[in-house]
């Protein structure tokens, strides 16, 4: 197809226009550089960034998690490693980093690591720890031509399809409001939905913590017989939750019929405080994450319910999708918005179905061949505006 020509111009005018354009570009670039808007200078053509296929033999896969010593994040890393193995990659090609839930720390660590790499040959799979660090992470990926899949945290105004010039492959999260509401209802039912509970929350300003509390509030609205006696944050921490629950037992005594928790670790801390007061198994707690210890607490009758999501599958799927795009098997432009910002399925685990969650997971199901047929087989829906 012949190129469309523009209107013919006098050569002198054309030359001076070129000069003016060049001058304008330089001035604009200087202004944008001074004002710190360099990212807007990157080409808008999607083919310009992250367009070169990666080299599987040398690609580096950076995995950014909250903490290595978290059973959930340990599963995520294991899922990535299992998928990498199924892709024929060496163990050394997967490089995990922990942010200690500090997004700035993660961006700094990844920035240092990527600066020593050849551009265009890296995949980043990371939880930015807070929505504030999602954009810096996307910009980091863009500057280094690295493919990026983000987890959990994303500000409402940016999406993989409108930010990152094709380097931000996808954002994946879980619908915490829905599963938290289900877990809360099982807790209420354990005491006949008449009485008081206390809620132990995560880090107060964290979006995931807020979503989980929102699920509890929705369940409370539908159960007028249940009173929320107190709601206190324990910052996701098991020890802090144990201390806090012990204090709350001291305050509310027999009024207390259940302890709702925003994650498994805090749930397990609550159970130990209840055990210390001789109330374990009488006053039930809840968990959220799906760690093996929480399932055991559920099987023993200390927990009423656990909201579970599969970290192994999450890690494996995220690498599979990023890899597929990075080697050119999947065309990013052909994907819908739901395929690039999605929730994965969650499970409500109670005493009736916990046995199925106590068995060792089937790592064979995490191979590239098993997943690439339908990357979205376990998607439950698009991510809400701020998830």
């Amino acid at each position: 197809m012949p190129k469309t020509k523009g209107p013919t111009l006098n050569p002198t005018i054309r030359k001076s226009r070129k000069r003016a354009l060049a001058l304008a570009s330089v001035v604009t670039a200087a202004i944008l550089t001074v004002t710190g808007c360099t990212s807007t200078l990157t080409p808008t053509d999607p083919s310009a960034s992250c367009s070169t296929p990666i080299d599987p033999k040398t690609v580096k896969i950076y995995v950014g998690v909250g903490a290595f010593a978290s059973p959930y994040f340990a599963d995520v890393i294991k899922g990535v490693q299992t998928m990498a193995k199924s892709l024929g990659l060496e163990d050394s090609q997967v490089i995990p980093y922990e942010s200690n839930f500090d997004g700035q720390q993660l961006v700094n660590s990844l920035g240092s690591a990527l600066s020593s790499d050849e551009p265009g040959n890296a995949i980043i799979l990371a939880d930015p720890a807070s929505p504030a660090f999602t954009k810096p992470l996307v910009e980091l990926a863009q500057e280094n031509d690295a493919r990026l899949v983000t987890w959990w945290n994303r500000p409402a105004e940016i999406h993989p399809w409108d930010t990152g010039d094709g380097c931000w492959v996808a954002h994946q999260s879980y619908d915490m409001v829905a599963v938290s509401k289900q877990v809360s209802q099982v807790l209420f039912d354990s005491f006949g939905a008449e009485g008081g509970i206390v809620a132990i929350g995560g880090v107060p300003d964290n979006p995931t913590a807020k979503d989980r509390l929102a699920g509890l509030q929705e369940a409370l609205a539908e159960n007028p017989g249940v009173t929320l006696l107190d709601s206190q944050p324990a910052n996701w921490d098991q020890t802090a939750s144990q201390t806090l629950t012990a204090q709350l037992i001291g305050k509310y005594g027999t009024e207390l019929k259940g302890v709702w928790n925003a994650n498994d670790a805090m749930g397990l801390g609550s159970v130990e405080a209840l055990r210390g007061a001789g109330l374990a198994g009488v006053v039930l707690a809840t968990g959220m994450d799906g760690s093996p210890n929480a399932f055991e607490a559920l099987a023993q009758g200390d927990f009423a319910a656990v909201g579970s999501y599969d970290g192994l599958y999450q890690g494996a799927l995220s690498l599979a999708l990023a890899y597929s795009v990075a080697v050119g098997e999947t065309d990013l432009a052909s994907l819908s918005e739901t395929q690039r910002a999605f929730y994965l399925e969650t499970s409500l685990v109670t005493s009736t179905n916990v046995d199925g969650f106590l068995v060792a997971p089937d790592l064979g199901a995490l191979s590239y061949d098993a997943i690439k047929g339908d990357f979205w087989a376990k998607v439950s829906g698009p991510v809400r505006v701020d998830g």
Partner: protein, 344 residues
């Protein structure tokens, strides 16, 4: 005009008189400094009991004391170091690694080991080694304890993360769990262990040469060195005890939550430092002691429990605790503020 009636002489007599008054005031102030935190603690308990009668129940008293056991152990060890004018920031890292180590050595869900008491001893030795390393590097190479112990804090956290087996090790050793679950007079064995440690350290500081040297080192290390006292040996000894007690606190946390945790020491350091300071031990060293620290720990425990009972919004609790800390320190160490000023 003779010298005795000269204005200069009058001025001198007036000065002597003033000095006498200020000396009496000084004694009173010093006494107030010593008992001030205790008075504030008593006052706080009375006020809270009046406002919220549920605070004053025996059950809640037991809860407050049980929850104070671990902070007592951490802060008591730290007091020894602060008395020398040093600081130990490594408690959280030491607690984390000792928690993971003990959880992997007693009967647990991650491996088949069942070392029982030997497992606890290994974790205690690890804590002691951390403390020894802190003291040795700080004393032998004359490096600031702040920086050395900041480093070992992260070494401890790193070791805990490295040893973390992927799945959190749950404790299955019932005897070990009894440390937290077993009770005498409604108070856990851990609380009684903390009391034994407090008494032992009080006696050590008062009646042993080692203890007296620790207190003497704060204001007068230079004189001790001139006198030929092997100060480094005492310094390393104090850090080793501090590390051992941090390790014990990690072990106690493990017994309490029933699992090894790499965050076992989370948020333990700054409350411990606060407890030491509000109790009345100077950060410059030389003055203070274990009993003052006990009062400091109890003050923090009562504030924390009190805020919960009063239903103070959790978002402002930290701020309230911060303001209370400043207020208590200002009220109890007002006379010593010149000495404290050297701590930038």
């Amino acid at each position: 005009m003779d010298a005795a009636t000269s204005p200069d002489h009058e001025a001198t007599r007036a000065d002597i008189k003033r000095d006498g008054v200020s000396s009496a005031r000084g004694t009173l102030a010093r006494r107030l400094e010593n008992v001030g935190p205790l008075l504030i603690l008593a006052l706080m308990c009375v006020v809270l009991s009046v406002i919220e009668p549920r605070f004053a129940t025996l059950g809640n008293l037991q809860t407050v004391l049980n929850e104070a056991a671990i902070p007592l152990v951490v802060a008591s060890g730290l007091t020894l170091v602060v008395l020398m004018g040093s600081i130990d920031l490594s408690a959280e890292g030491v607690m984390a690694s000792c928690s993971i180590v003990v959880s992997l050595l007693v009967l647990n869900s991650s491996n088949s080991l069942d070392l029982g008491v030997a497992g606890i001893l290994v974790a205690l030795i690890l804590g002691a080694l951390f403390g020894f390393a802190n003291g040795f590097i700080h004393a032998r190479f004359a490096l600031p304890s702040l920086m050395v112990t900041l480093g070992t804090w992260f070494v401890g956290l790193g070791l805990a993360s490295y040893l973390f087996p992927g799945r959190q090790p749950a404790i299955q050793d019932a005897g070990f769990r009894e440390l937290a679950l077993g009770k005498v007079l409604g108070l856990s064995y851990m609380f009684w262990i903390a009391i034994v440690i407090v008494i032992a350290l009080v006696l050590m500081l008062r009646f042993t040469h080692f203890g007296r040297m620790i207190t003497a080192m704060g204001p007068g290390q230079a004189q001790l060195i001139i006198a030929g006292v092997p100060v480094n040996r005492y310094r390393i000894g104090a850090f080793t005890i501090c590390g051992t007690l941090a390790g014990l606190a990690g072990i106690m946390t493990t017994a309490q939550i029933g699992a090894g945790s790499a965050t076992a020491g989370a948020d333990q350091l700054f409350p411990a430092v606060s407890a030491v300071v509000i109790g009345g031990t100077l950060l410059t060293g030389g003055r203070g002691g274990i009993l003052q620290t006990v009062v400091g720990v109890l003050l923090l425990a009562v504030i924390s429990s009190g805020l919960l009972f009063l239903g103070v919004n959790p978002y402002v609790q930290q701020a309230v605790i911060g303001i209370a800390l400043i207020g208590i320190v200002a009220a109890t160490t007002w006379r010593a503020r010149r000495k404290l000023a050297v701590v930038k």
